[in-house]
């Protein structure tokens, strides 16, 4: 029995606004509990919500970027359940008239560009946090911190379009990139700024009806999402292949132990008693305002990557890397404005990214030290072949610490580039003598081996030989030997 998995995702994005969704408390706060609270987010008697215009705008921008339809009016609703971290014992969310419907998120899966369809996108408020006794001997109390209560969340629900956990991982990575790209969220899953629950069921391949689904929660990393889903699919498959039935349930995935745990079975369907929030008027999105937001959207990551391929001639994979982060793409394009794009792409993807990793800098910090225009100077020399690789790398490292263009920096360190043809030809002769068989191979038609010989020339020059002139010198010597018949 060939079974296929059907997965739908429910993601929550914590918005990066200054204040909470329905009150003026700071949305970003330190560690001290209950220091960013007020009568509204504490749900004190008599308090009333007031929606945050910036949160609405951020959600709309995200919806527009995802190609959603935006109805003229959306409505807030109350979702009721008793839980100590929810001060009003209802959550203000949106139910049957959400902010956005439809839409899709492009994501790259295994080298292929896919479009994952969405069902809806809406605004809601976050809950507070609870901390439970962890160790024996801890006081038997749970502690409640309402700093997070009321922080704006965008909920994105996909259609059940995923067939493999790898697709879910790709979707989340793309979503994380997009929310950062737009500046609406930092999207850090470990900080809870991007959360994901999954609904998963199995059905015979080719069937249209959906099987019984279970809900998977507590997926705290993209990796965890993929592994948790694989575990659950495996569990359901084993059950069904034995002739058993899947029961609706909510499961937690413990990434540390790689285990699933049943949180509760869904014998009782939740009765959230949704009704329209009487304390808030309907949210009207004017067509003019919407157009303004749409026009002000930046070039979206997938569109930008496509443009870089088409216009700059970059390979798809390279463009994707550069478009992983908007600031990186900006840096690259600024650099490519002053030098050969493909070389610039190489340097940004290798030297710049490596420097960020090794030094722990932000891109902003690196750009402050080495502006893209300055790097362009270096890149242009490399592309023109007038700066050998090893020396270019050293120049890059110097330029991260010092001011000045590439020539100035090289001069400051007394680094010379060897481009005198006569000297290079002498070096070339030495290399050809030392590697006579390789030379013979080149003359016999194995042209690729010239690169090896060139490398040797550069090495022999102590890294100072400019590759362009060095290659010319090498080729001249090879030609001379060919002309002489290989002596």
């Amino acid at each position: 029995m060939a079974l296929e998995a059907v997965i739908g995702l429910e993601c929550h994005v914590q918005l990066r606004t200054r204040t909470k969704m329905f009150c003026g408390c700071r949305a970003a706060f330190g560690d001290e509990p209950n220091t960013a609270v007020c009568p509204v987010c504490l749900g004190l008697p008599g308090s009333l919500p007031r929606p945050n215009g910036a949160a609405v705008e951020a959600a709309l921008r995200l919806g527009l970027a995802l190609g959603c339809e935006v109805p003229a009016v959306s409505v807030f609703a109350r979702k009721h359940y008793f839980y100590p971290d929810m001060p009003k014992n209802y959550q203000i969310t949106q139910y049957d008239r959400p902010l956005c419907v439809g839409g899709a998120l492009p994501a790259e899966v295994g080298g292929e560009e896919r479009d994952f369809e969405l069902a809806r996108l809406h605004l809601e408020e976050d809950t507070g946090k609870s901390f439970h006794p962890e160790r024996r001997g801890d006081r038997p109390v749970s502690r409640l911190d309402y700093n997070r209560a009321g922080v704006p969340l965008v909920e994105i629900v996909t259609k059940p379009v995923f067939r493999d956990p790898a697709e879910c991982a790709a979707f989340l990575a793309a979503l994380r990139r997009l929310v950062r790209w737009l500046g609406v969220s930092d999207g850090d899953m470990e900080k809870g700024q991007l959360r994901c629950d999954a609904n998963v069921s199995l059905r015979p391949g080719g069937a249209t009806a959906l099987g019984v689904k279970t809900e998977l929660k507590n997926l705290n990393t993209i990796h965890g999402v993929e592994r948790g889903l694989r575990a659950e699919i495996g569990r359901q498959r084993a059950l069904l292949e034995e002739g058993g039935e899947v029961e609706p349930a909510t499961l937690l995935y413990d990434a540390g132990r790689g285990r699933l745990a049943v949180m509760r079975t869904k014998e009782e369907i939740h009765d959230y008693r949704y009704f329209p929030e009487p304390d808030l008027p309907a949210l009207a999105t004017g067509a003019a305002a919407l157009e303004r937001l749409r026009a002000a959207l930046p070039e979206l990551p997938w569109a930008r990557a496509a443009r870089l391929c088409a216009v700059h001639g970059l390979a798809a994979e390279d463009a994707r890397v550069l478009c992983e982060q908007r600031e990186l793409a900006d840096y690259y394009e600024a650099c490519a404005a002053g030098a050969d794009p493909r070389t610039a792409s190489h340097w940004v993807r290798t030297a710049v990214l490596a420097a960020l990793r090794e030094r722990g800098w932000t891109l902003e910090a690196l750009a402050g030290r080495l502006a893209p225009a300055r790097l362009a100077g270096l890149v242009a020399r490399v592309a023109a072949g007038t700066l050998p690789g090893p020396l270019a790398k050293r120049a890059f490292a110097w330029m991260l610490e010092e001011p000045g263009g590439v020539d100035e920096v090289l001069a400051r360190h007394g680094a010379r580039v060897l481009d005198d043809l006569a000297a290079l030809r002498a070096l070339a002769r030495e290399v050809l003598d030392e590697h006579a068989e390789v030379a013979a191979g080149v003359l016999a038609g194995r042209g690729r081996a010239v690169d090896f010989l060139l490398g040797q020339v550069v090495k022999r020059s102590g890294g100072q030989a400019a590759p362009g002139p060095a290659r010319a010198a090498l080729e001249a010597e090879l030609a001379r030997r060919a002309g002489r018949g290989g002596a």
């Binding site: 009568p39 504490l42 749900g43 004190l44 008697p45 008599g46 308090s47 009333l48 919500p49 007031r50 929606p51 109350r78 009721h80 008793f82 100590p84 001060p87 009003k88 014992n89 209802y90 749970s142 409640l144 369907i269 009765d271 008693r273 949704y274 009704f275 009487p278 304390d279 808030l280 008027p281």
Partner: protein, 494 residues
């Protein structure tokens, strides 16, 4: 005017006396406590919380600069479901025993900014659910006109306090008639403004789409001054009506040329004969003052009653979910959180509150939402349209507030439905969001107050005040443009 008699003055006159230095704010504020309260409070029990120090502090705050304050030094009684920094806010429920709000309701801030002094929190039906003020955890309030009878509810304490003279002004809340009906039962004026004209920020919510803060006074001019000081949009309340509140400065301009609807079909049956006589008297006064009577028919309040009870209890069940002993209020039991919440609520909420929470939860429940809640909201639209149709033919409607004069304590307690039915004539205004004003029209032969209700379209407060002025009893004839500094006839203690 001796300090001892200050309590008799209308609020406007009292404020003028304070501003001109003829009396101090402390004298103004204490007068009602010394005279009337000493004679009445023990029997009437209008007050839930009071604090002489808070009072003195409030008076001192005004003493510094009373100039330009329309209510300088005026004592005001505030219903116990409005948040006040300096007095507890318990909604007369055990569940909120000892709760002190960390902020003032917007209307309370505006009162204080106008120079008024909050002198007490008044007794009420628990969480505003009731029509008799018999369901307070502190015990009932009695009607000063007859101590065996109810003052009405749920704002019975505020109405009674104004009636016997503790203060010339009081705030209440009106969700289905809880200001107008006690005003009628206590022989004072009661105004429920247009929905959205009084900020609800700081009013402990019962039914969000129906609640409005309301005003009690003995003089129409006082209602006007208080309304002007308190009404208007509040950035903290998203349900505020945008734009400035209507100007009620012309409250004494008379009713010449105004038309009032006369839906006599409503009281053909089921309304006490003497109440009807009061309506006829009110109509006669209006006509003498130059208004024109327009007979018309209004649908009976039956559908409105059903719609009201479903919408109000549904919203209440939601608004009261927050009371669970976790963050404030009384907490009962421990063991596990679910039990703690359940026990706190079951022990803290009275029977009527629990009944309404259950009804509301049921109405919103999966499977019942369409049939009950949604249908009720649609019926509500119809009620509004019926009123709009009436107002196409008249400037305001005249009708009863309650079907009977004040009933006896205990009379309706055993039958919730009977209690609900007494709201028949008032809850239409809450459903439609329109303003309503209860104006006293003398007394029955047994000496019990009776009243007439004036209803108008959105923002018709200026018209309602003008009409109430014309009806105002106490030797008032339709005289234009004069304030009165003598008190209306006071009930004498039996």
């Amino acid at each position: 005017m001796s300090a001892g008699g200050l309590w008799r003055l209308p609020a406007r006159a009292l404020a003028e006396a304070v501003r001109s230095g003829r009396c101090t704010p402390l004298e103004a504020v204490s007068s009602g406590w010394e005279g009337p309260a000493a004679a009445w409070e023990r029997d009437v029990h209008a007050v839930a919380h009071a604090d002489p120090e808070a009072r003195a502090a409030g008076a001192a705050a005004v003493a510094g600069h009373p100039e330009g304050r329309p209510l300088a030094g005026v004592p005001v009684v505030v219903k116990d479901n409005l948040c006040t920094l300096d007095l507890p806010t318990t909604c007369c429920s055990r569940l909120l025993a000892g709760y002190h709000a960390p902020y003032d309701a917007t209307v309370v801030s505006r009162l204080r900014a106008a120079g008024a002094v909050v002198v007490a929190k008044s007794n009420m039906d628990e969480f505003a659910m009731g029509s008799s003020t018999e369901r307070s955890c502190y015990g009932p309030t009695r009607n000063p006109w007859d101590l065996e009878r109810v003052p009405g509810g749920s704002s019975g304490g505020s109405a009674a306090a104004v009636a016997y003279g503790l203060a010339p002004l009081a705030l209440g809340s009106d969700t289905g008639g809880s200001v107008r009906q006690p005003a009628a039962f206590c022989g004072v004026l009661g105004l429920k403004p247009t929905y959205g004209r009084m900020s609800r920020y700081g009013l402990v919510a019962f039914a969000s789409s129906l609640d409005q803060v309301g005003l009690f006074a003995r003089h129409v001019g006082d209602l006007a001054v208080a309304y002007a000081a308190l009404a208007g949009p509040d950035p903290r309340d998203a349900t505020s009506r945008p734009g400035p509140a209507p100007d009620v400065g012309g409250w004494d301009a008379g009713v010449e040329g105004l038309a009032f609807g006369w839906p006599a079909n409503l009281w053909r049956e089921g309304v006490d004969a003497e109440v009807v006589e009061g309506l006829e008297e009110a109509a006669a006064r209006l006509e003498r003052a130059g208004a024109r009577r327009v007979p018309l028919e209004m649908p009976s309040g039956e559908a409105a009653l059903a719609a009201y009870y479903l919408v109000a209890t549904a919203e209440a069940s939601s608004n009261l979910a927050r009371f669970d002993g976790v963050r404030y209020g009384a907490r009962a039991g421990d063991g596990d959180v679910r039990a703690l919440q359940a026990r706190t609520r079951s022990e803290g909420f009275g029977e009527e509150v629990q009944r309404r929470i259950l009804l509301g939860t049921y109405a919103l429940s999966k499977g019942y939402y369409d049939e009950y809640y949604l249908t009720a909201q649609r019926a509500r639209t119809r009620v509004r349209r019926e009123h709009e149709a009436a107002f196409a033919r008249c400037d305001f409607l005249l009708g009863p507030v309650a079907p009977t004069p004040p009933f006896r304590l205990g009379e309706k307690l055993e039958d919730p439905l009977a209690m609900y039915l007494s709201d028949l004539f008032t809850l239409g205004a809450n459903l439609a969001g329109i303003p309503g004003l209860s104006v006293p029209v003398g007394t029955t032969r047994a000496g019990l107050p009776r009243a007439a209700q004036l209803l108008g379209p959105d923002d018709a407060e200026p018209v309602l005040l003008r009409a109430a002025r014309a009806v105002e009893v106490g030797g008032e004839r339709a005289r234009l443009g004069r304030t009165h500094e003598t008190e209306a006839a006071w009930p004498s203690k039996r």
